[in-house]
């Protein structure tokens, strides 16, 4: 069964090729079988491979499948090879499992869209690229998947390309992640030139053997890889693209911008953990980035009015938690949280999509209200997802976030500060999640609802809700792939605070948002509060900052160079030649006496030249 590993990425690739080459001519009945069926095949195969892998050799096991030699140029050897260990198995199961559920959801959600076939083609290409990323044996193949998911993200965010702002959002996402990708490429160059190989296991062991901890090569390489991770995972300072990426269809937001692509950065850091362990300062930076981002995004989420933007900022915040864990060396909790986050965040996005569909594409939460009676399945699944997000006890989110925060507390000397940031973030999470539920589902009834949702939409919601509730028990033994945790248990005060903070947030949210809109109105009349609200609404000023720092100077430079300095050199040569031509044309004036005079001048000049001494 393990030998069928190559089929797992191959099925979505085949699906993409069929849908791409059929150019939308396949009927709407056939497209879902190919589009969702290919990912379903992958999911089944992944499950079988997982069972096989875990049954036969639980510890110390790695399966490498070499497909063919991709590049072999003197010293530079890159193979198309797949590498399966506990970490990549976890990622593969998440990508194919959650991906399949989202594809099934899209069958119903995108059914009326004229670009149905194109949608599934792009989604299948995305799943292929993501699988290449997580199964890659070497960093070059990982980079192939990395760029591939960036491309598919662009294609899918700008899926409805007739509206200009969707194209702008797609472009923004691509350019911002490109900045990170450039840093990552530089990191790969550094690793190759210093270590001689891009094969992950070989490079890591060579780094550990050859570079002392804190050496500048390790710091530089890990810093550059961090740049790439920060771009893809939408962390500070490159988090600005994710809220605007909500311009894409909701299944896209669920798959790419919640469950899989944005976790690629987390996966990269976990894969190259040996390198990060060699540069403790960079690891601290990872934790700091995670802590600051989770707070920043939490505040921003609190001020949003679009249901998808709230969830987008929530994603940024939760990935901040993963970075926080990676930064203190809590590798397994970070990946575990990645997995549970994939479940509940995908669930939240899909349920939000169901709400949007039922409200006829209304996305402002303040135009919605009292939906709990009118959309029962959506309400209960959304509630379960929110409970997992907030980490209420006995949900999967509780197990992962609780373990993560406790590990953060005891893992490093800066632990208590980072833990405090994480717990404050948990308070914010509870606040904005409860706000979302109170405004959208509870409260007075508002808005028009179209009530029947097809089964292709409700069944994935229910399955994901079950996973969000019970997924905590699907924890896989990640230990041989990632270093084990050996942190002491924190004091019980810490444990209780961590567990109770979300409840505090829920109570606070009820007090602010549950008792009618007038309390919020009165608060917003205060100038400071409304100023803060506007600041948080605009993503904490980052978009304005980048606009002033980068966009305006670039536009100014483009305007100044409108005549193009380099091109004008060539245009000036042409102008010179034309001026010369005009001068010479003056001699052809058709006047006989002028010609005669010219001849006399020529003769005079010639004679005086000839008579020189």
């Amino acid at each position: 069964m393990l030998n069928l590993l190559w089929l797992v990425p191959a099925c979505p690739l085949l699906g993409f090729l069929v849908l791409f080459c059929s150019e939308g001519k396949l009927s709407n009945n056939r497209v879902p079988w190919i589009g969702a069926g290919s990912v379903g095949m992958s999911a089944l195969l992944s499950a079988g491979i997982g069972v096989d892998f875990l049954a036969h050799n639980p510890d110390q096991s790695v399966f490498r499948q070499m497909l063919w030699s991709w590049i072999a140029v003197s010293d530079f050897k890159v193979d198309f090879a797949l590498y399966l260990d506990a970490l990549s198995l976890t990622m593969m199961l998440v990508v194919t499992g959650v991906g399949f559920l989202i594809h099934v959801y899209s069958v119903g959600y995108m059914a009326d869209d004229p670009g149905y076939s194109r949608f599934f083609a792009c989604m299948n290409l995305f799943v292929f690229a993501m699988l290449m990323l997580v199964l890659a044996d070497n960093l070059a193949l990982l980079f192939l998947g990395w760029e591939g998911v960036g491309l598919c993200s662009y294609l899918l965010i700008g899926f409805w390309y007739d509206k200009a702002e969707n194209g702008h959002a797609a472009r923004k996402a691509f350019i911002v992640t490109r900045a990170g990708d450039t840093a990552m490429a530089l990191g790969l160059f550094l690793l190759f030139t210093q270590l001689g190989s891009l094969d992950i296991q070989i490079a890591m062991s060579k780094a550990v053997a050859g570079w002392p901890p804190g050496s500048s090569y390790a710091v530089a390489a890990s810093l550059l890889l961090l740049g790439g991770a920060v771009g893809k995972s939408a962390q500070l300072p490159l988090q600005v693209w994710l809220p605007d990426a909500m311009a894409g269809p909701t299944p896209v937001s669920a798959l790419i911008h919640a469950a899989t692509m944005v976790t690629a950065g987390v996966y990269l850091i976990a894969r190259t953990h040996a390198l990060f362990a060699l540069a403790p300062d960079v690891q601290l930076l990872v934790a700091a980035i995670g802590a600051i981002t989770l707070l920043l995004a939490g505040f921003a989420a609190l001020a949003q009015t679009d249901i998808k933007r709230i969830l987008a900022y929530s994603t940024i915040s939760q990935i901040g938690y993963m970075f926080l864990a990676l930064g203190v060396g809590a590798w397994s909790p970070a990946i575990f949280h990645l997995m549970t986050h994939a479940f509940f965040k995908a669930l939240l996005f899909l349920a939000a999509g169901a709400v949007i569909l039922s409200m006829r594409h209304e996305q402002n939460i303040f135009n919605m209200g009292g939906l709990w009676k009118r959309l029962p399945v959506t309400f209960w699944t959304f509630l379960i997802g929110a409970a997992a997000l907030v980490a209420l006890p006995f949900t999967s989110g509780y197990y992962s976030k609780h373990e993560l925060l406790l590990a953060v507390y005891s893992a490093s000397p800066h632990g208590p500060w980072l833990w405090a940031a994480g717990v404050a973030g948990a308070l914010l999470t509870a606040l904005y999640s409860a706000r979302l539920i109170l405004v959208v589902f509870l409260g007075p009834e508002r808005g028009q609802v179209k009530e029947d949702l097809p089964r292709t939409i409700t069944i994935p919601l229910v399955v994901l809700a079950l996973l969000a509730l019970f997924g905590g028990w699907l924890k896989m033994p990640l230990v041989p792939a990632l270093p084990a945790l050996d942190f002491p248990e924190p004091e019980s005060a810490v444990v209780w605070t961590t567990a109770l903070m979300p409840w505090l947030g829920i109570v606070a949210a009820y007090l602010i948002y549950g008792r009618g809109a007038d309390f919020i109105e009165r608060l917003s009349e205060n100038a400071i509060v409304s100023g803060l609200k506007r600041f948080c609404f605009n993503g904490c000023g980052f978009d304005t900052f980048y606009n002033r720092l980068l966009v305006q100077p670039f536009l100014w430079l483009a305007a100044v160079n409108k005549r193009d300095v380099i091109d004008s050199f060539y245009r000036d040569i042409v102008a010179l030649v034309i001026a010369g031509h005009r001068l010479l044309a003056l001699t052809q004036n058709g006047r006989l006496r002028w010609y005669a005079a010219a001849m006399v001048c020529g003769v005079a000049a010639g004679m005086s030249w000839g008579m020189r001494p």
């Binding site: 052809q588 004036n589 058709g590 006047r591 006989l592 006496r593 005669a596 005079a597 006399v600």
Partner: protein, 102 residues
């Protein structure tokens, strides 16, 4: 009688040539230009005669005969052209003959 020195004859020839040249450049009437050309030709012929006289050879006289024949032929053709120009442009003002447009 003593012969005329060659310098004087050549000077006369040069003066005549320059007068003819100036007339060619200054005049606007095609026929007057042709007359100026005649003067130039005759000046050249005078220079040849003076040289032939100086060296005492008949070559100068022979060239002058050639120049006369040349001048006659040229005037014949020139006057024919002037007739055509007059028929076409209705003028013999050489400045009005340009058809170039800038």
């Amino acid at each position: 009688m003593t012969g005329v020195s060659i310098q004087h004859a050549l000077l006369l020839a040069a003066l005549l040539f320059v007068l003819g040249l100036v007339g060619l450049l200054v005049r606007r009437n095609l026929i007057m230009m042709l007359m100026s050309v005649e003067i130039m030709l005759n000046a050249a012929g005078l220079a040849f005669i003076a040289a032939g006289s100086r060296w005492g050879q008949a070559d100068g006289q022979v060239i002058f005969l050639l120049i006369l024949a040349l001048a006659a032929a040229e005037v014949g053709v020139g006057l024919g052209l002037v007739m055509q120009v007059y028929r076409r442009f209705n003028t013999v003002d050489v400045d009005r003959l340009s058809e170039m447009r800038g």
